[in-house]
Symmetry: C2
Subunit: 112 residues, 2 copies
């Protein structure tokens, strides 16, 4: 099965963050793919962020494809991340992501 | 948890395919992350391919990040794919990927 949607949603202040985030949701729960609840390409525009937020019912991975940022890990630990880094939280943990740069940060978000 | 390995494995004739494939395995089963068995960044060099092969015990997603190729879907159906396309197979299905171009094809492979 191939999902080829290129639809872009622009979200402002996502989870209480700053600025604009573009999301292309390639797969959602509605696709009923066992083991995957969401697969999305996400762009944090310059100086944008996804606020620190809790995942009560699922786990999520952020994979940094382009750019640099600050990952907010469980317990709000701040860690510098760059292209090639994989940031994981388990069910019941929280996370967020900041792009403090003037360049876009592109990442893949996988909810499972 | 953040996985920052940049170790590259170069595999030739992967699953009976042609040429060279570079794999950066960010996460494997040894990491014991519930719900994810592998997360890797994969580059198919010019004219390289991953041969059509069966997944007996897990499902896999290929997400095309850069380049163009031919996805071999279940039943060996050949489908043109490009950056932004998500290619999914379920447990018990088979897949492969060809890069017939002179440019690299970069993709994310997620086994779950």
């Amino acid at each position: 099965m191939i999902k080829q949607t290129k639809d872009i949603q622009v979200l402002k202040n996502l989870h209480g963050g700053t600025g604009s985030v573009e999301i292309q949701k390639k797969l959602t729960k509605e696709d009923a793919v066992e083991g995957l609840d969401m697969f999305a390409e996400v762009i944090l525009k310059a100086n944008a962020s996804i606020g620190y937020h809790l995942h009560t019912d699922d786990a999520e991975a952020y994979y940094i494809v382009e750019g640099e940022g600050i990952f907010l890990d469980e317990n709000e630990q701040r860690v510098s991340v760059e292209a090639g880094d994989l940031c994981l939280i388990k069910k019941g943990q929280s996370h967020g992501l900041e792009n403090p740069t003037e360049e876009e940060l592109k990442m893949i978000a996988v909810v499972y």
